[in-house]
Symmetry: C2
Subunit: 352 residues, 2 copies
C-alpha cells in the first residue's frame, strides 16, 4: 500500500481555508488524517472532510506533531510564527501567504510553470499571489514557444482577494446603495485592512490593493512584478522580462480579470499561433471566439480550477505585441487549488 | 445686446439628453429658446429648462426651422437622418453619436485638446466617444510638454455608457443577485444592443463594448485607437502615436476608469514633471497622493465636469514610460458636457 499523509490546514475557516478542504477532498493525495487549525476564536467549530465531522483546533506548535503536509492560509504573521515549528517537526508546508515568497531558499511555485523548483524546497514552498498565478499560467506557454520580452498588466480584482469580510462588506454596501442609503459607513476593510482610510467598493473602483510603496506602486503591483520574475526566471530582479502592473479592485465577489499586453521575441508571431499554443497549454482553457461572443467572464470562472484566456489580438502597430484578457477563480487557482496542486506535485515527485 | 441662440436638444429624454439640458442651463451660451426633441414615443412629455416647463416634441425636419444650435444624442441613425436637415436650415450641430466622427470634413473635438479644429466645421461638429475624451484630456498636456509615442489603455467602463436601459438592467441584476435569484433572465441589453447574446454585468466583467471587428478588436476599442489619432494628430490613421486598447464593461453605474500606459519622447522625464504639467492642465484635476490614499474613484467623479488623474508611476525598467489611472463622468465630460462645451466654444469663437 502506498504512503498516506497526515495533512494540517492552517486557517481552515477562512474563504481560502474552506476551499482548501474541498480541493484536498478532490485531490490525488492519499490522506490518512486531516487536522483543521485556526485561531482560538474559531476553535471548536465543526467542519467536515469527506463527509466525516472534524473539529477545528486552536493552532499551537504541538499541533504539527506527526503532520506530513501543512497547507497554510491564515495570514503572513501566523505563517511566520508556526511554519518554522511545523518544519522543525518534519512537515513540508505549502504557504499561501506572502511571508516567505521572496526568501531565496523558498521555491515560489505554479506547477504549470515551474514545477521543477519544488525539488529545492527546505520544508516550505510558497504559493504566489492570486493575480500573479493566473497571469503566469497564461503567459508561460507563450514564453516557452516564442520568448517573452515585456508584460504590461491592468487587473480587475475581486473583493474576495481581501478575504471573507471584504466579500461581506461588498454585499452590504451593494444592498445599501440599492436601498438609497449611504455606503460610506459600511466601508471598514477595503481597499485594504493595513491602511488608514476605507472606501466603498460597491458600484465603484478602487485603484489600491495593499499598501503603497515609496515609488507609488502598491504592494500588490510590486508582487506581480517581482513574483513573475521569480517564477519565470528564478530571480525576483531578473531583467530578461520587463514587467509593470496597475492593480484595481472591482465590485465583483469572486474571480479576477486581467488585461495583459505582452511582447514576444519573434515579431512574425500571429494570433493563430498563440491560440494554437494556448489551446493545449496545461491549466488553460481558451475562450476566444469574438464572432460568437465567447470570452472569459468571472461569473463563468467561479468554482473552476482553470485559467480562462480570450480576446487575443495583435497590436497592429507593433509587430510581436499582443493584448489578451485572462480570468480565473482567485480563491481556487489563485489560492486553494494552486496550494493543493503544489502539495500533489510534491507527493507525486517524492519530495515529501 | 449680444446675440441669443435658439437651441434644439435631440434625444432630450435619454441619460445624456437630460444632462445636456442641465449643462446648457449652466453654460455661458445666451439661450433665447430651447426645443426638446425626441421620438414620437416621448413626445408630449414635460421637462423643464431653467425652471420653465418645456414639452418634448417629435423630431421632424421642420423642427429645425429657426434653430441656431443642435445638440444631438439620440443615436447614430437619428443623427444621420436629421442633422443634414438641420444644417440645410442653417443650424450648427454638435453630435454626440458616432455617425459623423470619421467624416474628413467633420471636426472631432475635445476643446481642451483641439479647439482650433472647430473653425473647419461645415455645420456639424462631432463629439468623441466617452472613453476617448477622458484619455485625451489627460494625455494632451503630456504630449504638448514631452511628446507622446505610444498609448496602451485598459478601460473600466460604466453601464450608463450603454444608456439608461443598461443602467436599469445593472440595478435589477444586482438586486436579483443579492436576493439569490438567477440574473441571466435580466440580461437583455448588455454587453451591447447590437449583438445577439446578452450577459449579466452585475458582479461580473464583460470584455465586450460594441460589436467585434474582423481583427478581434471591439468597435469601442477601434474608436479609442482612431479617434485619439484624429483628435491629437488630425489624421485617424496617423502613425506618430501608436495606440492600442482593451475595453471592459464593469458593474459601475456612472464614471469610467482607465489604466493608461504611455511612453514620451524624452526618456529623462520624471513623475514630478508629469504632475507639474497635469496640475495646471485645462479640465484636469490631479488626485495623486498615495501616502494619503488619494486617487480618482468613480463615486467621487459623478456629476463633475473634470477629468481626474492619479496613480502616476514610472515604469522603472523602461525610461520614458509611465502608468496612470484616469476617471471621469462618462455622461458629463464623456458626453453632455463635452457637447455643450463644444457649443460654448463655437459661440465664443464666432463660429455659429
Amino acid at each position: 500500500m502506498s504512503k498516506e499523509y497526515n495533512v494540517a490546514i492552517l486557517g481552515a475557516t477562512g474563504a481560502v481555508g474552506t476551499r482548501m478542504i474541498q480541493q484536498l477532498e478532490q485531490s490525488t493525495i492519499p490522506v490518512k488524517n486531516v487536522k483543521l487549525l485556526a485561531s482560538a476564536k474559531s476553535a471548536g467549530k465543526q467542519l467536515s472532510f469527506k463527509g466525516q465531522p472534524v473539529t477545528v483546533e486552536e493552532t499551537t506548535p504541538a499541533s504539527f506533531d506527526g503532520v506530513d503536509i501543512v497547507l497554510s492560509s491564515a495570514g503572513g504573521s501566523v505563517s511566520k510564527k508556526f511554519l518554522p515549528e511545523a518544519v522543525k517537526r518534519g512537515a513540508v508546508c505549502v504557504d499561501n501567504t506572502s511571508a516567505f515568497r521572496m526568501e531565496p531558499d523558498v521555491p515560489l511555485v505554479v506547477p504549470e510553470v515551474n514545477e521543477e523548483a519544488l525539488k529545492d524546497h527546505h520544508g516550505i514552498v510558497a504559493n504566489p499571489n492570486c493575480s500573479t498565478i493566473q497571469m503566469v499560467v497564461a503567459l508561460e506557454p507563450i514564453r516557452q514557444a516564442f520568448g517573452l520580452n515585456q508584460i504590461i498588466v491592468s487587473t480587475y480584482q475581486a473583493a474576495s482577494g481581501a478575504g471573507q469580510s471584504a466579500l461581506n462588506e461588498l454585499r452590504q454596501e451593494s444592498q445599501d446603495y440599492l436601498d438609497g442609503k449611504d455606503m460610506k459607513a459600511d466601508a471598514k476593510i477595503l481597499p485594504t485592512k493595513g491602511d488608514k482610510k476605507h472606501y466603498p467598493l460597491a458600484f465603484n473602483l478602487l485603484p489600491q490593493i495593499d499598501v503603497f510603496e515609496d515609488d507609488g506602486y502598491s504592494h500588490e503591483e510590486w508582487k506581480m512584478i517581482h513574483e513573475t520574475k521569480k517564477i519565470m526566471l528564478n530571480d525576483m530582479n531578473a531583467k530578461d522580462i520587463k514587467v509593470t502592473a496597475t492593480c484595481v479592485r472591482v465590485p465583483v465577489p469572486i474571480a479576477h480579470g486581467e488585461s495583459i499586453y505582452f511582447t514576444v521575441d519573434d515579431p512574425t508571431v500571429t494570433v493563430d499561433q498563440l491560440r494554437a499554443v494556448l489551446k493545449d497549454a496545461p491549466g488553460v482553457v481558451l475562450q476566444d471566439d469574438p464572432a460568437h461572443q465567447v470570452y472569459p467572464q468571472p461569473i463563468n470562472a467561479v468554482g473552476k480550477r482553470d485559467t480562462f484566456v480570450g480576446r487575443l489580438r495583435a497590436d497592429e502597430e507593433n509587430p510581436g505585441a499582443f493584448n489578451m484578457w485572462v480570468v480565473a477563480d482567485n480563491l481556487l487557482k489563485g489560492a486553494a487549488w494552486n496550494t493543493v496542486e503544489n502539495a500533489e506535485r510534491l507527493v507525486a515527485n517524492g519530495l515529501i
